[in-house]
C-alpha cells in the first residue's frame, strides 16, 4: 500500500512473501520480483500471465486472490498455508496416475481426483453404446480419502488402499473393494447431449479402454452396410482422441456430435506431415485432423475471431 513501508535497513532487499523488492520499477516497496512473476503490490496483480493458469482465476491474479490464506514463493504455484499438505498432493497425484484420472484443485484444501471407468456394448443393430461412469475421490490432510457416499479409502504404510464404509453409528467397516457409485455421463458416443466437459474427461478413458481391448469405435451405426465399409477403411474410423485434441475441443467449443458430423459428412483430404500422415475433414469452415492411427489430433475452424484474436479458430455452428 502506498505511503506505508517497512523502515528496516536500506540494505535489506526482501519484502512481501520474502520476495525480492524491485524498487527501480515503480518506487520503493511497490514491486516485487520472483522467478515466475513481477508483482505489483498496489494492484495485487502480476504483470505477466500466470505460467500455470487456472480456469477459475484470472491469469493476472496472485495467491489465488487470497494473500492471507495462500502463498506463492516463486510466482508459479500458490499453496494454501492452511490448505493442502504434501502427503495429500502426493497421494492424489499417485491415485490419479494409477486410475488414469485428473487431480482437481491441486493446491487448495480440497483436493480430489476425478476419473472415469467405462462399459461398451453393441445392440442388435450394431450401434456402439458407451457408458462412462465418473468417480470422484477426495483426500484429507493425511492423504486418506472419503467420498460423498461415506466410502473411505485409506492409504497405508504398505502403499495399499484399505477401503471401508462408514455405517450409521460412525464406525468404519472394511469392505475390501468397492464399486464407487456413478455420478455423471451416461450416453452414446454420437449423443448430442454429451457436453464438452464430459468429452474432455471421458473420451481419453474410453479411447484407452477400446485400444486395450483392440476394439474399434465406429462412427455411426456400425452394423449398417455403409458403416461396415467405413470401419474397414481406417480413415473413416475414430479410435479415440489425443489429450491435445480433447483440450482444443473444449477450448474451441467443439462438441462430440459436431466432431462426428464433420468426420461423417465433411470432405476428407489426406496429408503427409513431418510426423506421419493425417486425414483432415472439413465441413462448414470447421476442420478435424485425424492421425494414421485413427485418433483425432486437433480441431479448429477458420473463424477469424475479434480484433484481439478472441474466438479465433472456434467452432462455427452448422447452418
Amino acid at each position: 500500500m502506498q505511503g506505508r513501508e517497512f523502515a528496516g535497513g536500506m540494505g535489506y532487499r526482501y519484502g512481501f512473501g520474502s520476495q525480492e523488492s524491485d524498487n527501480e520499477v515503480s518506487g520503493r516497496g511497490n514491486s516485487y520480483t520472483a522467478e515466475f512473476w513481477q508483482y505489483d503490490c498496489r494492484l495485487g496483480r502480476r504483470w505477466n500471465l500466470d505460467p500455470v493458469p487456472q480456469i477459475s482465476l484470472s491469469d493476472y491474479s496472485v495467491n489465488g486472490n487470497n494473500p492471507i490464506l495462500n502463498i506463492d514463493p516463486n510466482g508459479a504455484y500458490f499453496f494454501g498455508l492452511f490448505g493442502s499438505t504434501k502427503e495429500q498432493r502426493q497421494t492424489a497425484e499417485y491415485t490419479a496416475s494409477r486410475l488414469g484420472g485428473k487431480v482437481n484443485n491441486l493446491h487448495s484444501k480440497s483436493i480430489s481426483v476425478k476419473y472415469f471407468t467405462q462399459e461398451g456394448s453393441h445392440d442388435e443393430s450394431g450401434l456402439v453404446t458407451i457408458k462412462a461412469i465418473g468417480h470422484v475421490i477426495g483426500f484429507d490432510k493425511n492423504g486418506n480419502s472419503t467420498n460423498r457416499y461415506g466410502i473411505r479409502t485409506e492409504y497405508n504404510w504398505r502403499h495399499e488402499y484399505v477401503i471401508s464404509r462408514k455405517i450409521a453409528n460412525g464406525h468404519l467397516v472394511n469392505v475390501g473393494t468397492v464399486e464407487v457409485p456413478q455420478f455423471v455421463a451416461t450416453g452414446k458416443l454420437d449423443d448430442p447431449e454429451i457436453d464438452p466437459v464430459t468429452l474432455a474427461i471421458g473420451i481419453p478413458a474410453l479411447a484407452r479402454a477400446f485400444i486395450n481391448s483392440s476394439a474399434t469405435v465406429a462412427i455411426g451405426r456400425a452394423g449398417s452396410e455403409t458403416a461396415k465399409i467405413a470401419a474397414e477403411t481406417s480413415t473413416s474410423v475414430i479410435k479415440g482422441f489425443t489429450q491435445h485434441a480433447t483440450n482444443q475441443a473444449v477450448t474451441r467449443g467443439f462438441k462430440t456430435a459436431d466432431i462426428l458430423k464433420i468426420v461423417r459428412e465433411g470432405t476428407p483430404v489426406q496429408a503427409a506431415g513431418r510426423y506421419g500422415t493425417q486425414t483432415r475433414y472439413t465441413l462448414g469452415g470447421n476442420t478435424v485432423v485425424v492421425n494414421a492411427q485413427g485418433k483425432v489430433v486437433t480441431v479448429f475452424s477458420n473463424a477469424p475471431g475479434t480484433a484481439k484474436g478472441l474466438g479465433k479458430g472456434h467452432f462455427i455452428p452448422f447452418e
Binding site: F36, W37, Q38, W47, N48, L49, P51, V52, P53, A76, T242, Q243, H244, N247, Q248, A271, G273, R274, Y275, G276, Q278, V289, N291, A292, Q293, K295, V297, T298, F300, N302, P304, G309, K312, G313
Partner: protein, 90 residues
C-alpha cells in the same frame, strides 16, 4: 516474463508439428509453454519435454531414430534455449 512467453510461443508456432494453418498455430501450442518453462534450463530435460509433447500429448508419429525428425526437434530445442538465454541476459 511476458516477452519470453511470447518468444516461446513464436518458436512453437514456427515448429507447428501438427501443421495447422499459420493463424491457428499461434494459439495451438500455448498450453505447453508452462511445461517448457519448467524444463528450459536443462537441455536434456527440454528434449524429453518436447518428445513427451509429440508422443503423449499430440500422439504424432515421432521416431527418435529418424534422423530428419530428430534434427527437427534438436533445432526447436536450440531455439528455445536461445530464447531463454536471451531473456536471462536482458
Amino acid at each position: 516474463m511476458k516477452k519470453i512467453i511470447e518468444d516461446i510461443n513464436r518458436v512453437l508456432a514456427d515448429w507447428n508439428p501438427i501443421g495447422v494453418p499459420e493463424n491457428i498455430a499461434t494459439e495451438e501450442y500455448k498450453g505447453y509453454i508452462p511445461l517448457i518453462l519448467q524444463s528450459i534450463e536443462n537441455r536434456q530435460q527440454l528434449m524429453n519435454c518436447l518428445e513427451d509433447i509429440l508422443i503423449n500429448k499430440l500422439e504424432l508419429d515421432y521416431d527418435p531414430t529418424n534422423k530428419e525428425q530428430s534434427e527437427d526437434l534438436q533445432q526447436v530445442c536450440d531455439k528455445l534455449i536461445q530464447v531463454y538465454q536471451k531473456a536471462k541476459e536482458e
